[in-house]
Amino acid sequence: MSGLNAPRLPSDETGARGGARLLRLLLPIVVLAAGVTVWDLAVRLNQIPPYVLPGPGLVLRTLIADWPVLSASLVTTLWTTLEGFLAAALGGIALALLFNQSKWLEYSLFPYAVVLQVTPVIAVAPLLLIYLPQETAVIVCAWIVAFFPVLANTTLGLNSVDRNLAGLFQLYGASPMQTLVRLKLPAALPYILGGLRIAGGLSLIGAVVAEIAAGSAGAGSGLAYRIAESSYRLNIPRMFAALLLLSAAGIVIYVLLALASHLLLRRWHESALGKDN
């Protein structure tokens, strides 16, 4: 929140800010360390066997030992994620723009979007596999999982455009394309980026689900297969190593999106502004 506790006397701003920045970097690491320690202690003290819940050390060792296998899977999954994310971002925004053209379009087609959102991928994947090449089917699955938040948030953003600004564009005879590019998209940007931050993690999940439902098995297969296989083969440390990779990938994706969002909004939108701006 902005300045709720602003000191009344001048503060050594640069110094304090530097310290705060350091703390902001350190604190997550401290909390992470604490989390890992709790995990470790929980496993040790309760003597939880590694085939139920392996300790962090074992998971890390497994991660290193199995790195060749796991990294290959990670790359596969990340590719699917990227493709799914791009599809979700473009598809979600494009659909929202389409719906924004007229309420009628929105009212007639939005239900189909909702249907897509709530359809379990596992149920439609076989159909997709019948009619689409496998690669495409995988991306469609990932897309189905991730597109809705982008669509919903973009719609919300487009509906929140300041009406006086919209009036201004009308007065100046802006073409629909101009209104789109110069008014609607920038105005909806904070919302769109919010949707993308949600979609980032969802496309990772989407990639996993898509791999399970429609992906190729065996060699060259992604983390989903590794997780399922390790679990089935009772190689629980490896399963956790794969989950760890997945989590790390999720965090990296989120951080990247948050960073992009910050860079895009930092000069003008409240949500990205510093305290004293």
């Binding site: 596992i122 596999l129 019948i130 190729s216 098995a217 296989e229 089935y232």
Partner: protein, 352 residues
């Protein structure tokens, strides 16, 4: 088909047979005693299966339904599995006492990962795993499947497919995921999909109106046991009597289910899984008999549930060649012969 192999009247339908050699246990409530053991004195036992209730689990349900377990002093709760339900994890975590593991490879995996579980009996002498193909693809033997697209589940890829790869040179490039949904297979005549000999052929015959070609992997040397009773090692160590009673009662349940009046077992299956139809159940039972899934080989001599070191060694050899398990694995830790091979219930098999 339901009449197929209808047994003569079972020895003691309402009063299950006394085991030939009762596992001389001190506290054991002798079956047949007039005083019915009241609920409190029964040992509570939970048993997780690996799929929704179906005929392939029939013996266990039979033993619950007709009171066999009760007669052995057990109060058994069966926890059905299903797609993605992981009852095995619950066994390992101590939430379940017994688990029905799908195949022998899983037991090897347990050893490989130092998971203290052991197989104590093997219900299926033959793995019912099959590959189904369209009649149009003119598949006659296993290797004819090689050029086809194969729909194999994740578990399948991790297990029998490794054997197909090493033994017969199948390629992973042909594999597409099978999520227990036959549509892609039905549409593509140049494909094959996995299944159990006891159910998928029937489903396809019934719904898609054609008789698929069926290739039973066991016929080609995939000689692992299937549908094993698995439990934690501490249970076999600390309560061997309990384990023995569960194994024995289950075997009797199986004999009764296969050869006796299995109406009670089926009723229970249908209660737990209302979608199960009578003809489906009958088909499965018939196929189990026809292919000797349960009662063949060693089981004929040692009773249902029989296991042998030789079979284990042979299967381990194949799987280690396939690269599915480490060669130096002490696979003998995967099972114990302490509880099986006792010939329990042999007398219930109709002699013909």
């Amino acid at each position: 088909a339901s009449e197929h192999g209808a047994p003569a009247k079972p020895a003691a339908p309402e009063k299950p047979a006394v085991p030939d050699k009762p596992a001389a246990a001190e506290k054991q409530v002798m079956p047949g005693k007039p005083a019915k053991p009241d609920k409190d004195s029964l040992d509570k036992v939970s048993f997780g299966t690996n799929w929704v209730a179906e005929a392939e689990h029939g013996g266990f349900f039979q033993a619950v339904a007709d009171g066999t377990y009760k007669n052995f002093g057990l109060d058994v709760a069966i926890v059905p599995g299903g797609p993605n339900v992981n009852n095995r994890a619950l066994l390992i975590a101590g939430k379940l006492d017994f688990f029905m593991s799908a195949n022998t490879l899983q037991s090897f995996d347990a050893v490989a990962n130092n998971v203290p579980v052991v197989a104590v009996a093997a219900i299926f002498q033959k793995d019912p795993q099959v590959l189904l193909a369209h009649p149009e693809s003119k598949v006659a033997k296993l290797t004819d499947l090689k050029p086809l697209t194969l729909f194999v589940s994740k578990e399948g890829v991790a297990s029998y497919f490794q054997w197909l790869k090493s033994e017969y040179g199948f390629s992973e490039a042909k594999v597409k995921p099978y999520t227990f949904n036959a549509q892609p297979f039905l549409v593509d005549q140049q494909s094959a999909m996995q299944g159990y000999v006891t159910s998928e052929p029937f489903v396809i015959e019934k719904q898609a109106k054609f008789k698929p070609t069926v290739v039973l992997l066991a016929d080609y040397g995939f000689d692992g046991y299937s549908t094993l009773i698995e439990t934690r090692r501490d249970l076999t160590d600390k309560k061997p009597d309990l384990v023995q009673r569960f194994v024995d009662a289950s075997m009797i349940g199986w004999y009764n289910y296969l050869y006796g009046d299995n109406a009670a077992g089926n009723a229970m299956i249908k209660m737990l899984n209302p979608e199960m139809s009578d003809d489906m159940l009958a088909y499965s039972v018939a196929k189990m008999k026809e292919f000797g899934i349960v009662d063949s080989g060693d089981a004929l001599r040692d009773g249902i549930g029989a296991m042998s070191d030789a079979r284990y060694a042979s299967f381990f050899d194949k799987m280690s060649r396939a690269g599915a398990v480490r060669r130096d694995l002490d696979f003998r830790k995967a099972y114990t012969l302490r509880f099986a091979n006792k010939g329990i219930g042999l007398n219930l098999r109709p002699r013909n």
